[in-house]
């Protein structure tokens, strides 16, 4: 009894440790003042249970990896102007961190350093040049200093993905910083918040002599990348976006806009943080089962046109707990180069389940669930099975349409027997007479 108790406690401790271990977060800052100016955001992170570690970006002891293991799950880079990371951290280390499954939140500003720019390029995003800012002469805030760089981003410009940005925000967002564009060849980049059609990105202190780097809706203010290993990265062009000041201040579009008491920044920032640090929209595949209808055993191979049952367990992480995923649009494909069967899985006892008839084509197939929805982790599960043709005993022995042939065959055989018998045993009478 005591023993089980102790084991129970140990297991519980392990869970707690694991839960904490999931949320180790490193925050790199330019200077310590950011802790104060952005305290609301950090506090809300702490409230979510994140274990925050602050370091300056040029700290010489900086490291993401120790003894081959990552020290953190999440990385926040709030140091836009850094020219060189300290310690063993550089752009390569950060991309390795992402490829190793780590999540990164990056905030930029108009004075953007090269490392951040490089990191963005590695992730399919291109920041505009140094000292540029997103300018919008029609949608700037009433508190703008005259350069029209404190812009008001309308809620309609937000990506329609509740999993990432939360429920539709009521008030617009304040933004002051650098713009970016997404690499059109990269299928993984999402434009979370784009500027309005009247915006462009340029140095506000210079006369415009060449075509701006980003114009109109192509100008991204916030962009996200979910890598193929489901690591998540968010780039925000404005570090002020997360500041206490922007969280609290009121918003009013200078051109006859409605006045909002509080900007939508805080709400959006919190939602983005939850998504990027994989608190939301996380799915996993559990056991996959397939067998003949009415049987429990997995056969070594199927035969064409058999009825097959397939079930897959998909869990969603909600509030730190794995619960059965309630999606209604998960599809199963039965693929041999091309899908032969594509059907929607139904809920059944917390499993997603379908029963279908195999195609009348033999070959090596895959049960494939490829669930790819914006905001959710990418689910890909494939199980290879072979579908055999009929065995020689499984064909129909007598086909109805061939009955005339059967009759002719058997009547012929019968006739030959009779004929042979008569031919062999028939005695000609005439011979006797002659003799």
């Amino acid at each position: 009894m005591e023993k089980t108790c102790i084991t129970g406690v140990v297991i519980l401790l392990c869970y707690v440790a694991a839960a904490i271990a999931q949320k180790r977060t490193l925050i790199l800052v330019d200077n310590w003042s950011i802790r104060e100016t952005h305290s609301t955001f950090f506090r809300s992170l702490r409230d979510q249970g994140f274990d925050l570690t602050f370091k300056t970006a040029d700290d010489s002891n900086l490291a993401l990896v120790k003894y081959g293991e990552f020290l953190y799950e999440n990385l926040i880079i709030f140091s836009p102007s850094v020219e060189d990371f300290g310690g063993s951290v550089d752009v390569g280390a950060i991309t390795n961190f992402i490829d190793g499954g780590g999540n990164v939140l990056v905030a930029g500003s108009s004075s953007l350093g090269d490392p951040i720019r490089e990191l963005a390029t590695e992730c399919g995003i291109e920041f505009d040049e140094e000292n540029t800012a997103v300018i919008d002469h029609l949608n700037f805030d009433i508190n703008d200093d005259g350069k029209h760089t404190l812009i008001v981003a309308d809620t309609n410009n937000l990506l329609d993905a509740p999993m990432i940005v939360g429920q539709k925000a009521s008030s617009p967002f304040l933004f002051r910083g650098v713009g970016m564009v997404a690499d059109p060849d990269n299928p993984l980049v999402l434009g979370v918040l784009h500027a309005s059609s009247t915006a462009y990105s340029y140095n506000p202190d210079e006369k415009i002599s060449e075509f701006p780097h980003a114009v109109g809706k192509n100008t991204l203010l916030i962009s996200a990348l979910q890598a193929r290993n489901n690591a998540r990265v968010i780039f925000v062009g404005s570090i002020d976006f997360f500041s206490d000041e922007f969280f609290q201040t009121s918003v009013q579009n200078a051109n006859n806009g409605k006045r909002f008491e509080k900007s939508g920044n805080q709400e959006l920032a919190n939602n983005l943080a939850l998504w990027v640090f994989r608190e939301k929209g996380v799915l996993r595949v559990g056991t996959v089962e397939h067998h003949l209808k009415g049987s429990k055993k997995v056969p070594a191979a199927y035969t064409v046109m058999e009825e097959v049952e397939y079930s897959i367990q998909i869990d969603e992480l909600t509030d730190g707990q794995w619960k059965p995923f309630q999606g209604k649009d998960v599809q199963l494909e039965f693929v041999r180069i091309d899908p032969f069967v594509r059907t929607t899985l139904k809920q059944k006892n917390g499993l997603l389940y379908v029963s279908f008839k195999l195609p009348d084509v033999y070959g090596v197939y895959q049960f494939r669930v490829d669930y790819n929805r914006v905001g959710y982790t990418r689910l890909f599960s494939t199980t290879q099975v072979s579908v055999h043709p009929l065995k020689h005993t499984q064909y129909e022995r007598y086909i109805p349409s061939a009955y005339p042939y059967y009759i002719s065959t058997f009547s012929m055989m019968f006739g030959v027997c009779i004929f042979s018998f008569v031919f062999l045993h028939y005695k000609e009478d005439t011979k006797d007479k002659k003799e």
Binding site: E122, D185, L225, R228, V364
Partner: protein, 709 residues
């Protein structure tokens, strides 16, 4: 004691009656020939080891293993999901099972009587064993045609003829190994049946034919040759009740039996290759009926009836054939058969057939190389056959003439020619020896004086001696030639290569097996390997990994898809490889060792086959040549060639390697040039393994980039 022992041996022999001596002598010669046939085929085992050779034998070996382990019904219903991914292949229905059944039976019998031999050794030694059997059958066959003497000569010649050895050395475990035995057995029994007109021999012939059908696709030759024989007998007025009984029963029973082989199915009554046999069968019935009518009717009545009958039946038959062809009941003549009749057919129309080296037309020199003396003695035998025409002789003449034509079309059919060459040469040599041996003067001096008075034939004895000496030296030379050819040319297993080193020692290249074992031990069980189809059977058999295409070239589009991948640029190829779930790509590269039948030399076939289907229509052969129309891999080579996947896989990192003294880096020893594109990196592949002599290079297909670019 010493003196008494010698006469004892001779005395023992002399005490036997001449008849018994004769039998003993025949038996001894035949036994020696059979043993010789077996042992001369063991060079490959002695020089290398007891391994399965080449490509197809590996498939046969794998299927035999399966049959021996799992039993016949599982074998019959075997669906192979390790080949032709993701299509799979129905093995049971697409092979001639005779070979596997034979070896599995031998294996089971031997193990039943507690001779523990493993399947591999049964497979390795099956072809030599059947070569011994063939020797015996040749003797019987030739005896039917001519006499026992000719039979012995033919059997001895067949035992060592290189044209047959090339396909039946130990380890060459292929259908042909037993098919030649089956073929000659069928012929022997057919000649016997035609001679006697007995139902017994006919049924035996049909059974032998069944065995032949079950073991080799070449049975089509046989089922056309026998009807041709019957047809010619009809035209020459030699048709008789004996032929009628023999052919009718052989055809009926043989056809029904042959349809039991799943791979053959309904072909004997549908495809045009078999229609000649059916037609001759019908003709036999008509001929017999006409003969019957002739015996009952007067001449005028008969003529009238005959003419009208011929006219009506002819038009009906033609109409039926036309309708059946139009309705698709009679399959159009398949490509392989066309290429028999017109050597350029395949080359112009079906690249996959033309690409196989053994489907190439035969070079003149290889006739001499494979047959030597037989080339000259063959006409002699033909002469003796013509000089004394019988039904049986007509058969061997037809066999000889047709097979010499077919062997000229396709290299591999040399195999069909070799036995008839031996038989006819055996008849020729034996007849020549018979003629002149009689003239040889071996009598005492007293008789010599009488002989000299023979004025009509001066120098009779001397001429005879001369002819016999020439003949003997020919035969001795033939023996030496055959042995030399066997040991030098036909005993290489081709899975292990050899080369002469600088100190005249032998260097062994065992790279193929090295690579296959690497795959077997280092890759996931379900990994898919893409390679050119030549290596498919070996990969499945030795590495036990799934392949996309193999030597059973049944799906041209699938092979074409692989060809397209090899001939495309990296990113195009990557799309194809992802579509087909490829994990590893394997190429054969000879540039370091000078092994000339590597993938670069086969590459043009990949381009041609890749471009032969709709999806590969963008791949054009001309793009891979220089403007002058040359295929070269050096700086002047076509840029498309220098950037395609195959080039990059073969020459990756090769640009920094010194291969030959006094030559720059990246010097290709097969093409004898310095390669044109030396410095490149692979984007979608990474090198996984390269064997010791770079013969086999294996690449792993990378996953998609994690961050999408």
């Amino acid at each position: 004691m010493k003196t008494s022992s010698a006469p004892f041996g001779a005395g023992w022999l002399l005490r036997m009656s001449p008849q018994k001596q004769d039998t003993l002598l025949k038996l001894m010669i035949l036994t020696i020939a059979a043993i010789l046939a077996f042992s001369t085929r063991l060079f490959s085992v002695l020089q290398f080891e007891s391994v399965i050779h080449e490509f197809d034998p590996y498939f046969n070996y794998r299927t035999t293993l399966f049959l021996a382990e799992k039993g016949f019904y599982n074998f019959h219903n075997w669906f192979d999901d390790r080949a032709w991914y993701p299509l799979g292949r129905i093995i049971g229905g697409t092979i001639y099972p005779g070979l596997m059944v034979t070896s599995a039976a031998i294996y089971n019998v031997l193990n039943f009587i507690n001779i523990t031999i493993n399947v591999r050794n049964v497979c390795v030694f099956l072809a030599p064993l059947f070569a011994s059997f063939t020797t015996v059958v040749t003797y019987l066959f030739t005896k039917e045609l001519k006499d026992a003497g000719a039979g012995l000569v033919a059997a001895s010649m067949l035992a060592i003829v290189p044209g047959y050895i090339s396909r039946s050395v130990a380890g060459s475990y292929d259908n042909e190994g037993i098919a030649i035995f089956c073929m000659l057995l069928t012929y022997t029994l057919w000649v016997k049946a035609a001679k006697t007109g007995s139902l017994f021999w006919s049924v035996l012939c049909a059974l032998a034919y069944f065995y032949m059908v079950s073991s080799w696709g070449g049975y089509v030759f046989l089922i056309n040759l026998i009807p041709l024989h019957v047809l010619i007998l009809m035209f020459t007025g030699r048709f008789s009740h004996r032929i009628y009984v023999a052919y009718s029963s052989v055809y009926c029973i043989g056809t029904i039996l042959s349809m039991q082989i799943a791979f053959v199915g309904f072909q004997p009554v549908q495809s045009s290759e078999h229609m000649a046999a059916l037609g001759v069968f019908g003709l036999c019935q008509i001929h017999a009926f006409v003969d019957y009518l002739r015996s009952k009717l007067s001449v005028e009545q008969f003529n009238l009836l005959f003419k009208s009958l011929v006219l009506i039946s002819g038009s009906v038959m033609f109409g039926a054939a036309a309708v059946a062809t139009a309705a698709g009941k009679i399959s159009p003549w398949t490509g392989r058969f066309y290429s028999l009749l017109d050597p350029s057919y395949a080359k112009n129309n079906i690249p996959i057939i033309a690409s196989v080296s053994e489907h190439q037309p035969t070079a003149w020199s290889s006739f001499y190389f494979d047959l030597q003396l037989l080339v000259f003695m063959f006409p002699v035998g033909l002469y003796y056959c013509f000089s004394k025409l019988t039904d049986a002789n007509i058969f061997i003449i037809i066999y000889g003439v047709t097979s010499i034509y077919f062997s000229g079309v396709m290299v591999r059919l040399m195999l069909v020619l070799a036995p008839v060459m031996c038989i006819l040469s055996g008849i020729g040599v034996s007849s020549v020896l018979n003629t002149y041996m009689k003239n040889l003067d071996v009598s005492t001096k007293k008789d010599k004086k009488q002989k000299k008075s023979d004025n009509t034939y001066p120098l009779k004895n001397e001429i005879a001696t001369g002819v016999i000496m020439i003949m003997t030296s020919f035969l001795i030379m033939y023996t030496f030639h055959c042995t030399w050819v066997t040991s030098e040319a036909y005993s290489s297993p081709s899975i292990v290569l050899t080369a002469r080193g600088g100190d005249n020692g032998k260097i062994i290249f065992d790279d193929f097996r090295e690579a296959y074992y690497w795959l077997r031990q280092n890759t996931h069980y379900n990994a898919k390997i893409m390679s050119w189809w030549d290596y498919g059977y070996q990969i499945t058999a030795i590495a036990n990994r799934t392949v996309l295409v193999d030597n059973n070239t049944w799906n041209n589009t699938h092979i074409s898809r692989v060809g397209q991948a090899m001939a495309s640029t990296e990113d195009k190829a990557y799309e194809i490889m992802r579509e087909l779930d490829v994990d590893y790509v394997l190429v054969i590269f000879g540039g370091l060792t000078g092994y000339s039948s590597d993938d670069i030399n086969k590459f043009l076939w990949m381009v041609r086959i890749g471009g032969s289907t709709d999806r590969g229509s963008h791949i054009k052969e001309a793009d891979y040549y220089t403007p002058q129309g040359e295929f070269r891999v050096d700086k002047d080579g076509s840029p498309i060639l220098l950037n395609c996947l195959m080039y990059k896989m073969c020459y990756y990192r090769f640009g920094s390697v010194y291969t030959e003294g006094g030559k720059p880096t990246g010097y290709d020893r097969v093409r004898n040039t310095e390669i044109g594109n030396k410095d490149f990196e692979l984007e979608v592949l990474e090198e996984a393994y390269t064997t010791e002599h770079w013969l086999v290079r294996i690449y792993k297909v990378k996953n998609l980039e994690n961050r999408g670019i």
